[in-house]
Symmetry: D2
Subunit: 309 residues, 4 copies
Amino acid sequence: MPLNAQQLAEVADLRAEKRPTLREVSPALEDILYQPLPILDHGFIRVVDYMGTDAAIVQAARVSYGKGTKKTQEDAGLIRYLLRHRHTTPFEMCEIKFHIKLPIFVARQWIRHRTANVNEYSGRYSIMDREFYIPAPEQLACQSVTNRQGRGDVLEGAEAARVLQLLRDDANQVYNNYESMLNESEDGTVIDEGKKGLARELARMNLSLNYYTQWYWKVDLHNLMHFLKLRADPHAQYEIRVYAEAMLDILKAWVPTTHQAFMDYRMGAAEISAKGLEVIRRKLRGETVEREESGLTKREWDELFALIG
Amino acid sequence: MPLNAQQLAEVADLRAEKRPTLREVSPALEDILYQPLPILDHGFIRVVDYMGTDAAIVQAARVSYGKGTKKTQEDAGLIRYLLRHRHTTPFEMCEIKFHIKLPIFVARQWIRHRTANVNEYSGRYSIMDREFYIPAPEQLACQSVTNRQGRGDVLEGAEAARVLQLLRDDANQVYNNYESMLNESEDGTVIDEGKKGLARELARMNLSLNYYTQWYWKVDLHNLMHFLKLRADPHAQYEIRVYAEAMLDILKAWVPTTHQAFMDYRMGAAEISAKGLEVIRRKLRGETVEREESGLTKREWDELFALIG
Amino acid sequence: MPLNAQQLAEVADLRAEKRPTLREVSPALEDILYQPLPILDHGFIRVVDYMGTDAAIVQAARVSYGKGTKKTQEDAGLIRYLLRHRHTTPFEMCEIKFHIKLPIFVARQWIRHRTANVNEYSGRYSIMDREFYIPAPEQLACQSVTNRQGRGDVLEGAEAARVLQLLRDDANQVYNNYESMLNESEDGTVIDEGKKGLARELARMNLSLNYYTQWYWKVDLHNLMHFLKLRADPHAQYEIRVYAEAMLDILKAWVPTTHQAFMDYRMGAAEISAKGLEVIRRKLRGETVEREESGLTKREWDELFALIG
Amino acid sequence: MPLNAQQLAEVADLRAEKRPTLREVSPALEDILYQPLPILDHGFIRVVDYMGTDAAIVQAARVSYGKGTKKTQEDAGLIRYLLRHRHTTPFEMCEIKFHIKLPIFVARQWIRHRTANVNEYSGRYSIMDREFYIPAPEQLACQSVTNRQGRGDVLEGAEAARVLQLLRDDANQVYNNYESMLNESEDGTVIDEGKKGLARELARMNLSLNYYTQWYWKVDLHNLMHFLKLRADPHAQYEIRVYAEAMLDILKAWVPTTHQAFMDYRMGAAEISAKGLEVIRRKLRGETVEREESGLTKREWDELFALIG
């Protein structure tokens, strides 16, 4: 369970009372507001605030005085047109804020998305939790032999068991020594009154990258979709992809029309090069096309046919 | 009146019905939501959406699971501490969206603030309104003789009257010819069926920079305060300052604790250089300080004493 | 000629003497450094500084200690791979700075690209030049009937002549009155010693949007390519496209390998939706595909077949 | 020695030959170009490219056709004026690129500065080096009792020795197990042909936050100064401050006039609140001012007098 009893009580408290607003409301997002969706072994993601719905995109695109919306179908058509033709600014008019608990090595990938706002839990100021990520056995993959930054087969048997043991033991040991150097235990109790304890900003360096951190992360809808395009992609590392996949569900609850357009035009789409398009045109005309005359390298040719069969 | 009857009806419609939400609500901002505040002769500013309140700043700074707020005074102390010490990221957790009507020459200054989201009314796509800015007589200032980018005394008598007449006549004439080139009047009626009409994206170039445009502008609280610090400053051009001043009132309604801290630590504050601080220290010790030995230029010295009397 | 004699002398002076550097040098860019390339009737674009070459991309992608480059072909392969798979950060390691003279209505489109650095000539501080844009006769297009933000046929005969006359007359008149209100002529001479003259920051509002402004504009290679993808596109307005096209030539001189990859994978490329890809797959397998069963709208279907013939 | 023999040879190779350029050159920066300045026990910082000098700031501020520079003193006056009055855009016209080796926990603070370009060494793709940070004894501080995110006294004797031993042992152990899980040693040699080895993107999570990473980091001069203002400040964590201090020296070599203005108006400066300014004014007039009537809290009052004596 990613939240303890007190934290769950705080969430329940936040969900106890509705207040009236004149703003656009997303009922499906209200249903899950503040509630943690568990990710990995100790992580979670939860929506803590949002601004706008599909209607806000239409309203901004039309720079309207009122709702700016017309018939549902017209609105959907506009949203799909905007997304298809990369008119991105209306999507920036919606905003969402998450509270996320995630391993530090995932946080290091995540933070590379710069167009977002972040407040992270501070290991200079506070004691870190004793929570670290251990992959599930089916995620314990070996290095890919074909892709230098990917995974291959899953480790099995003794090798798998040994890896899990090493990860667990080292994580526990570095935390034990973290407490020992701090001269404080996880709950802040002083261990030995006769010692000073190392500064938190220093002691934290002993923790390993699978330790969990947490942050508030706020992003506009356009940049969220950019994040999801990259991180929900099958080539993204599994440990960040599971967060992105949960966010796809959140996207669907929040802005269903945009979500559908995003799935059609971004997630499942592919960019085909000028030379690739020419190959397709020729083949559709019934011509035989050889790789050598196409201008494509072997790799590009293979990528193209992996795509169009 | 900046909005016509239909637009006012659309605003009234938006304000007709409240919906329940679990999000933080700013009651004082709800009171003015969607309603245009008139600025200059034809402009306005109105809030069309917002995310967060003072509480969201506290919540993010504490990366909290629940409300994150403690006693009102503790929360205010934290907000003031954050602002005083430029811990800016918690202020990025609040967001506000405006619909603004403003002269193009003001829009050209405004857009230089890059960390914001914008959707502008398109003169490629639509016909521009026949609305242009004419300064009120008390704003008809001559060029400052001491500040190359400022205003001096107000023009009077015949010179003032002539300037107003020229501005008005030229603005009307360029719009008449805009319609004529378009072969369409403001409401879209074709003028002469025998003509084709110049493309909108070209005809608009004949309009002058005092014509009004409008946009949706969305910004986070940190960047809004940065905008206000620069644009509500007495050295800002009057025509953008009036928008900033109206936004200060909106800030006060939205996040009153942050507004108070902003007025104390930013708007009324001054940055004093290392050498300036040394002058103050010496004078407070009762020493006589000469400009020549202070390391300050004449200009810096004068700026310092304009500030500290 | 966009530069006057004095300005040309200043450019010649900048080009007079080479200095030794240990940095990467782009010989083809050095050949045109500082020299204005004329655009439209009074505009220009010129490169005033740059950082990095194709080699810098390779070096950054490899986080190398030395040159980081291997065989030319391997380097080209890496650059093409990075661009194809949207690994964008290595392209951000190159930077270029332009001095550009452009009509204000073009500048208003241009400035929407936010990830760049800008210093614009100030009409608050200085008198604007009497230079305005008048379209060449072959650019005097009517409004498109099929695309609400595009151009159709070219105006001809009396209508064309009248439009050109109106544009020219209005532009001259607003400048005459600009000088008159300033009580200064273009070169700064006071017109009537008995008058005060309107402040520059106010008088400039009488100028029309076809007046030229100028700025220094600095951007990294990734964001430059994003700009070019949008603005060298046939759907971009002609008056900004001509600047983008000149910048494509500059790109070719500066980073030839990246330029080639950009032309292959971006400029001539197209993004095809999930459903569009499925249509292609089925047709390549020899199936007959009807629009109705494809899940594509009429508009999407037409866009797809306009692309793949 | 932060670089090995091969790396030093690569640096020497880069420094072997100068090439002619028409761009502005900073001779003092050329002197140190590519050369690593050692930081901490295994880190370094080195300049790998730059664009512009003090002259570029003047040139951009004047939107000039030529050098844009006048007398040295006038140029310095302009730069100082721009910095004093926060006219920041001309400083964005200079750019610098660093290659930096730094502990991961420092990198995590550093990356929060978003307006910069980064390419980091990839632990998904490559094996990390066996290099970790161990504080020098005089940096082994205990937690501050007055400042929750700072350091207090230095640990001594047995406690200090034990902390150093724990840090060293844990760092070595997690690396040993990293190699073991990878089934590869640091140089890429396979350890046991009978095993598959864990994927690099997973194994790296066992490393601790004091392990070194490295990146190319590129930033404009305005954002660099913002970074230095925060990170060369005495309240910044020591381990990032030493990098910032080295960059202050680089700043001085690169843009000496800007460096001097920065030291005067930013590094040594302080922002004083509206109420604080009023206290100073009254005291300079010879009045007695009590804290209670000043409107300042105890904390603010103490901060003010710590500043002005």
